[in-house]
């Protein structure tokens, strides 16, 4: 046997991320508590290297380790998005951990390990690697959700996340074992070949399909597998919530699309019906339940469920078509998730750093009169909320526009109309917060009012998120061409 040098070079970004994570775990116990910031800068350095490496892997399709992983434009698109999101999360954590007086160096190690899992998920071409990536991501996130060990809410979130997450991986794994029985291999291309050879009538295939859908449904937080989302998003430290809402959802969508298109593409007639139902339920429940929330983290959790519903429209449309129609459908999903990442991250960054008396103020009531106290923070929040509601000229509008266009072009106009109605409903609860910020006066004494705890790192995060939301809203063509370059590679 010779050294698989070529293969190792292909997965160099993953190796850098894991190597840095190990370095951080080794350095953390011997660093003084005041110098933990070094680890954050180390993380950012590793991410910068990975961005450079992955952008050079945008063309072609290289598979490594006998087809276990594949690097193509699709994987590169998700990885670049994940690097940016992780980088912003690390910057946010610098500010957030300081405000919470948590000096935990291994936090950055967990972020990098979770990122490594996500990278493996989006570039895995074998159910084994995809499963391993999912587990690495989930195990790191379970721990991160419970990092505020002094707070019962955080521990409870961690416990609930663990129970439902482990349950969903068990279901996913059983689906994988059935597919292995069907195809005699866990490689996505071998599974696709086996399905083409045997036809799609096999009940074992339908069962495996449903089990995989349940497993990924939990990770993507779509109805009816969403029940962990509000609890975990509310209880976890806000920087971790932002990371879960954005990065883990993006990676889950990435792996989900690859499995269902490259592996189970031949059965797309079956699964597009399944996901139409899931998509409608997600849109309805996410948007309607968000209206009655009084805690802003919970509201944003339901909003993130609803956004997964919008992204699923693109999947449903693409599943019912082949060729051009399918690739625009998938491209609109990629574009939507990318845009969703910027606005959600920005909103969570503000929620985490808006504090009173050393505590996070995450009740919607606390936002009363914010426009007078913190005009700039209120304006940033306004932009993110308007974008989440999908109002032009923000990026949120562009994302919804491309999704709805894909639906109309794909002959599913009724689905687009339903989604537009739900988008109008969603405007109600997003704009309610704007109303509270701008129209309502704060009650009580000044000392009990929430203020934004500013820091250079937070300013950078907010500036990047705002730039993403505004620039992608005004000039979406660059991102759209990237997305449509990545999408057709799924076949």
């Amino acid at each position: 046997m010779t050294f698989p040098l070529q293969d190792l070079l292909t997965i160099l970004p993953e190796l850098i991320v894991i190597g840095t994570a190990c370095l951080i775990l080794a350095l953390d116990p011997i660093l003084e508590a005041t110098k933990k910031d070094v680890l954050a800068w180390l993380t950012l350095g590793a991410l910068a290297m990975c961005i450079g490496l992955t952008s050079s892997q945008m063309t072609g399709r290289v598979s490594a380790f006998s087809g276990m992983v594949v690097i193509d434009a699709y994987a590169a698109f998700w990885k670049l998005l994940l690097y940016i999101v992780t980088g912003l999360t690390v910057l946010l954590s610098l500010a957030y951990l300081k405000a919470e007086r948590l000096s935990i160096g291994e936090y950055y190690g967990f972020i990098l390990l979770a990122l490594a899992g996500m990278m493996v998920m989006v570039s895995g071409a074998d159910l084994l690697t995809i499963y391993l990536g999912t587990e690495l991501m989930s195990l790191s996130l379970y721990v991160m959700a419970g990092l505020k060990r002094t707070e019962a809410r955080s521990l409870e979130a961690s416990a609930k996340y663990f129970v439902l997450g482990a349950f969903s991986s068990g279901v996913l794994l059983y689906g994988i074992s059935l597919l292995f029985g069907l195809a005699g291999s866990t490689g996505l291309s071998a599974i696709a070949a086996a399905i083409t050879a045997h036809g799609t009538g096999d009940p074992l295939l339908s069962l495996a399909l449903v089990l995989l859908a349940v497993g990924f449904g939990f990770k993507m937080a779509v109805v009816p597998f969403h029940m962990w989302t509000p609890d975990v998003y509310q209880g976890a430290p806000t920087s971790v919530t932002a990371f879960m809402a954005v990065a883990s959802k993006a990676a889950s969508f990435g792996a989900f699309l690859r499995v269902f298109v490259e592996g189970l593409g031949a059965a797309s007639a079956d699964w597009s019906v399944l996901f139409t139902v899931v998509c409608l339920a997600t849109l309805a429940l996410g948007n309607l339940v968000a209206i009655v929330q009084t805690n802003i983290k919970r509201m944003l959790a339901y909003s993130s469920i609803a956004h997964a519903g919008y992204a699923l429209i693109g999947v449903v449309v693409a599943g019912g078509h082949s060729g051009e129609g399918a690739s625009t459908g998938f491209a609109s999903v990629l574009l939507y998730i990318a845009i969703y990442s910027f606005m959600t991250l920005g909103a969570f960054a503000l929620v985490g750093m808006l504090r009173k008396e050393g505590q996070e103020s995450d009740q919607i009531e606390d936002y009363a009169g914010l426009a007078k106290r913190e005009p700039l923070a209120a304006f940033f929040m306004l932009v993110f909320l308007v974008s989440l509601a999908g109002i032009p000229p923000t990026a949120g509008f562009i994302g919804k526009f491309y999704i709805f266009m894909a639906a109309v072009n794909g002959g599913m106009t009724w689905l687009a109309i339903v989604a537009v109605i739900f988008a109008a409903i969603s405007a109600f609860y997003y704009l309610r917060i704007v109303m509270v910020m701008y129209m309502r006066e704060a009650e009580g004494s000044i000392a009990t009012h929430s203020r934004l705890e500013t820091s250079p790192a937070l300013s950078l995060v907010l500036a990047c998120a705002l730039a993403g939301v505004v620039l992608l809203g005004l000039f979406p063509n660059g991102l759209w061409s990237l997305a449509s370059q990545a999408a057709p590679l799924l076949k």
């Binding site: 046997m1 775990l25 080794a26 116990p29």
Partner: protein
């Protein structure tokens, strides 16, 4: 797959299991019928003529115990990767050796972390 003949091969085992259960049941029942029953306190103690009982066996273990048990589970299970590696060692050659060294190095990072964080101290 010889599904017709398959159950027949297992009939001896079935008979064996039935006999085993019957043997145990007969022993216990016979003992109960024959022996005199005169229980008193010392006789009912878990260790008759042994050291006196000082507490219930179901005590709370110190939390340290669970941390050590957890670490044991993690480091113990890595052997499932080492066994196949050892079996195919000659075929894998130098590449296999280097890969195992990397694998163990990652484990050592975890061990170093646990050690430095004081997870192994027992007091």
């Amino acid at each position: 797959m010889g599904s017709e003949a398959a159950p027949l091969n297992y009939i001896p085992i079935l008979i064996f299991i039935v006999i085993a259960f019957a043997f145990g049941a007969v022993q216990i029942l016979l003992g109960r019928i024959v022996r005199p029953s005169r229980p008193y306190r010392a006789k009912l103690a878990p260790y008759e003529s042994g050291s006196p009982l000082f507490s219930d066996a179901r005590v709370q273990f110190p939390i340290r115990y669970y941390i050590i048990a957890m670490l044991f589970v993690i480091f113990d299970i890595e052997i499932v990767f080492m066994f196949p590696w050892a079996v195919a060692f000659k075929k894998l050659g130098l590449v296999g050796l280097v890969e195992m060294v990397v694998f163990i190095a990652i484990l050592i990072v975890g061990f170093w972390y646990a050690w430095k964080k004081g997870a192994l101290e027992w007091d």
